[in-house]
Amino acid sequence: MKVIDWVDERLDLSGVRHFVAHKGVPLHAQKVWYYLGGMTLFLFGVQVFTGILLLLYYRPSAAEAYESVQFIVTEVQFGWLIRNLHSWSANLLIGLAFAHFFSVFFLKSYRKPRELTWVSGMLLLFLMLAFGFSGYLLPWNELAFFATKVGTGIAGAVPVVGTFTLRLLRGGDDVTGATLSRFYGLHVAVLPAITTALVAVHLLFVQRQGMSVPIGVERKLKPGEPLPQMPFFPNYILRDVLAWYVVIAVLAALAAFYPWELGTKADPFAPVPAGIRPEWYFLATFHTLKLVPSHVLGIEGEHLGVVVFGAVAIFLVLVPFLDRRASRGQPSRLFTWLAALGLLYLVSFTIIGHYAK
């Protein structure tokens, strides 16, 4: 008796069998974008796996964090590989998450009935950024220390709750070992728990509702004409696996040829080194805040900047409810332009922020 039959006999897998046998993926010119979500999910898996291995040696205290990472990359067998994979995978993950976000935005895949899938996806994107921000400090090196100081300082500029948020994040008025402990707890317990639950919800929605078909493709179909489908299993899933392998190859090459520098240990009493800037995915926001005048219409510039970014984040979460044309299945040029502007802003300000002094 096969194991699957043994399980089937006890749990009745006929529902699952039926789902797997009949699930299809729409076939059209834009189907390539479907793979981005799977690749992002795969990288999240890599993060969990490498993160657990790093946890075996990492010590979350100001006195030992840097040394423990140094130990991992020098003394632990393949420790360098695991640490480099974790760092590179984190960056690729956020890059792919942004690509997935924009592909869904441009294709209007958020439209009815997938509003909740979009909302859960947006929350996951914010969680990925929180993962990046909290993880950046953990090696307790100079760049991370001062970048965290700047980053938490921006959080402190939030009107009304800013000071409370800053103290909550830092565990005091300044970035210290208490901040490291908090970021560690956030990075390895709180965020993974929330993310896992949200990923489950997001996947459940995707599986339940199937892949969204772009409005343009849908409108070209004659009434009653079915869209060609590709079986999810094994045709689509094998393509997904192929994409994951490509990601593994890229990750391995990056880890071997462009190892993530550890830098020098953070010294809270050292002067702020030149060129302090956050990770690339925060550069656009950081540079924009730098450009905002100190006062705009009597309001403190930094406060205004943070409020505007907060409003943009809320707007993005609410996009499916605001884009009424898309929800009716009609082309929605305004939101296409908004997505294009957003993409242009992010790319250009990230580049400018990178080269700005």
């Binding site: 020098t74 360098w80 045709n235 392998y245 090459a253 071997a256």
Partner: protein, 452 residues
């Protein structure tokens, strides 16, 4: 204008404070009788009483107007409540010139030479008086000055020499910690040079040995490593004229004392030199090899009896019988070997660091080797070859351990790249196989759909 520069409303000291104590009042009377004028006369003048400035500021003769103008600028005495009459005597409250400048009012005019020194010393040599204004300030300047070449020449009636005002200014005197003060460390050499580079003024002056006193000390000093450290490196502890010659007791250190002067800062070098074979031979100590005012940045090239070497003055290059030459060659060879070792290991470590190998420990070890090199260069001043070589050998051991770690790093890099190549090869094979499988499945599905 006058009111804006008026003395503080609460003068720091007043004689009544002293007179209030009966015992001190007795001393006061006795001292007044003995000396006639005394430091306590020179305390802060009551506010609003400095009519001298008001009148002198309106004078057309710059000799009369300039002191008043300078006194209203930053001036440590005015800022502490002192006025013109505290040094010049006279009456600050008289509106008539004759009454203001009356000898009966104690008017002394412009003190010069010994009178100027005495005027300054009235306060600056009185410890109890100075304690009220600058408790940490020394009060032996006048004694030191009297012992200086300047003071001795002045005592002989030579009025060309510097007195207090030549270095500190007479009016507009700034604290020595003020960067604009002529005696602030970065300005001292320029202040001394006003006289000492003036060939006309210095004509006729000689060194203790009888040789004419040169006037190129300042230009020599400007070429020195000390000048560069002070003016370009902003290192205010770097020596300028007064650090070697003394300030108020200015005089050349003299033969035999140079090592002590240099040893004030370069203590370890002086200690090594004091125990060396050269100590009894070198009359001018450190100056024999390093020079005096134009002290150049020391280099390993100096340790040579060949061209450009400091040893060449006494030793002969290539002379096998010259023990000094042999010692210089041995020490220099060892130093160069360690330098090359550190450079080579440094390049290796940098190379593997750039490739992603963690090398903090090796970088730390290389710094230790660098310390050994510095120690060897220091020990060299004792001219004991065996001691220098022992330190160099320790340095070479450190370099060897770093080299070994560097080679392990190179092997690790090779292993990583080979591992990557194998992994990528395996992934490629899998991807190709998967691609073929997908095509096969797609073809089968297509055929199945075609048959339906």
């Amino acid at each position: 204008m006058l009111t804006s520069h008026a003395p503080p409303t609460a003068p720091p000291v007043h004689s009544r404070a002293v007179l209030a104590r009966p015992a001190l009042a007795g001393v006061w009377v006795l001292f007044t009788l003995l000396v006639g004028t005394h430091p306590l006369h020179a305390q802060a003048t009551p506010p609003g009483a400095n009519g001298c400035v008001a009148c002198h500021a309106t004078q057309t003769d710059p000799r009369l107007a300039t002191p008043a103008a300078l006194f209203t600028q930053p001036d440590v005495h005015r800022e502490n409540g002192f006025a013109c009459v505290d040094c010049h005597g006279g009456s600050a409250s008289s509106t008539e010139a004759a009454a203001a400048h009356a000898p009966a009012q104690g008017f002394k005019g412009k003190p010069a030479g010994q009178a100027l020194v005495a005027t300054c010393a009235r306060c600056h040599s009185d410890a109890s008086f100075m304690r009220r204004y600058a408790p940490k300030q020394r009060v032996d300047q006048a004694i030191e000055y009297a012992a200086s070449v300047h003071g001795q020449q002045l005592a002989k009636g030579d009025h060309k020499v510097a007195t207090c005002a030549n270095c500190h200014n007479a009016h507009g005197i700034r604290r020595i910690s003020d960067a604009k003060s002529p005696v602030f460390p970065t300005n001292v050499a320029n202040t001394c040079a006003v006289c000492h580079k003036d060939t006309t003024r210095m004509a006729g002056y000689t060194l203790p040995g009888g040789a004419a006193l040169s006037t190129h000390q300042f230009s020599d000093y400007q070429k020195s490593v000390h000048y560069a450290a002070l003016t370009k490196g902003n290192d205010l502890s770097a020596p300028t004229c007064n650090d070697c010659h003394g300030n108020h007791g200015a005089a050349p250190p003299g033969v035999g004392a140079v090592t002590n002067v240099c040893g004030t800062c370069h203590a370890v070098f002086a200690q090594k030199f004091a125990a060396s074979v050269h100590q009894p031979i070198f009359d001018k100590g450190c100056v024999e090899c390093h020079g005096n005012h134009a002290v150049a940045e020391p280099s390993d090239q100096m340790l040579s009896a060949g061209a450009g070497g400091a040893c060449a003055a006494c030793h002969t290059a290539g002379d096998a019988t010259d023990k000094g030459t042999a010692a210089a060659v041995a020490m220099r060879t060892g130093i160069e070997r360690l330098k090359t070792g550190i450079d080579d290991s440094g390049s290796l470590i940098r190379r593997i660091k750039n490739a992603g190998i963690e090398v903090s420990d090796e970088q730390l070890a290389l710094r230790e080797a660098g310390t050994k090199l510095t120690l060897a260069r220091t020990e060299m001043h004792g001219f004991d070859v065996a001691r220098v070589e022992a330190i160099l050998a320790d340095g070479m051991k450190v370099v060897a351990s770093v080299d070994s770690a560097g080679q392990k790093g190179v092997s690790e890099l090779r292993f990583r790249r080979r591992g990557l190549a194998v992994s990528l090869g395996a992934i490629l094979i899998f991807v190709v196989a998967l691609g073929l499988k997908i095509r096969q499945i797609d073809r089968r599905d297509h055929e199945r759909r075609a048959t339906l």
